[in-house]
Amino acid sequence: MSRSLTGPSAEPRELLFRALDEHGDRLYAFALRMTRDPDLAADAVQEAFAAALRKFDTFRGESNIATWLHRIVYTKAVDLIRQRGKETSLPEADDGGLGPEDDRLARTPAWARPPDEILWSSQTREALQAAIKELTPLQRAVFTLREMDGMPTDEVASVLGLEPGTVRVHLHRARLRLRALLAEHFKGRVPT
C-alpha cells in the first residue's frame, strides 16, 4: 500500500506506514533469521513498530528510518530470544578480536568444488539457511544484515551499536563458520 507524504512534517504514523511498505519485508526477514521462529519474528516486528510509534520523538533523523527500525527490531528480537530461552548464547557472549579458533576454522579444507548445479541448487540454499541458524545471535545479525541484506558496514554498526571494525570481526567469524558447515553439506555430493 503506498501512501503519499506531505513533507518533512509528515506525521509519525504516515512515516511508519511508508517504512512498513518500503522496509517491512527486510525487517521481517531480519527478525526471522534472528529468532529462527515465525511467531517470535512476527512479535518482534509488531512490537518494534508499536515502540517506534510510542517513542517517535527520539528519532531525530541522525540515521535513516530503516536503520532506526532495524535497531529496534534487533533489540526486540534479542529480548524475545532471552525471554523464551531459545538460545544457548546471547550477543554479549561474543567476544571481540579474532583468535586461534578462527585461525583453526580458516585452516579447514576448502570446499571440494561442487559442479555448478549442486553449488547453486535450492538444496544448497536451504543448507545455507540451516547453517545460519547455527551461528550465534550476533553473528547471525551481522551476517544477515551485511551479506544477505547488503547493508553497508557502517549502517550495520549503527544498528547493532558496534564499531565497524568489530562488525568485520563478527562477519569474518560468521563466514568461517558457514564455510565449515557448508563443507559438510557438499561432502558426498561431489562426484569423484
Binding site: 511508519l16 517491512g24 526477514a29 513498530f49 510509534l53 576448502a110 568485520r168
Partner: protein, 73 residues
C-alpha cells in the same frame, strides 16, 4: 595453510569490505594468487557471498502486516 597466512586471512573480510588501503589490497591479492590454500578460502567466501545474494528473502506474512497497520492507525 601455513601459520604465517593467518594474519592475511584475518584481513580477507576487510578486503571484501573495501576497508583496506591500496598497498594492503595489493599485498593480499598477490598472496591469494600465490598461496593455493588462501586462494581457495577466498573463492569459498566469494561463492558464499553469491549464494547469499541469490537466496530468497522471507516475506512478511499478510496477517502480520495487517496487524501492524491496525496498530499504526
Amino acid at each position: 595453510m601455513k601459520c604465517d597466512c593467518d594474519g592475511l586471512v584475518r584481513r580477507l573480510t576487510e578486503l571484501h569490505d573495501g576497508a583496506l588501503g591500496e598497498g594492503d589490497c595489493a599485498a593480499i591479492e598477490r598472496h591469494l594468487e600465490e598461496c593455493a590454500d588462501c586462494g581457495a578460502l577466498h573463492r569459498d567466501f566469494q561463492d558464499l557471498a553469491r549464494l547469499c545474494r541469490e537466496s530468497d528473502r522471507p516475506r512478511m506474512p499478510l496477517a502480520v502486516r495487517r496487524r501492524i497497520e491496525q496498530a499504526l492507525k
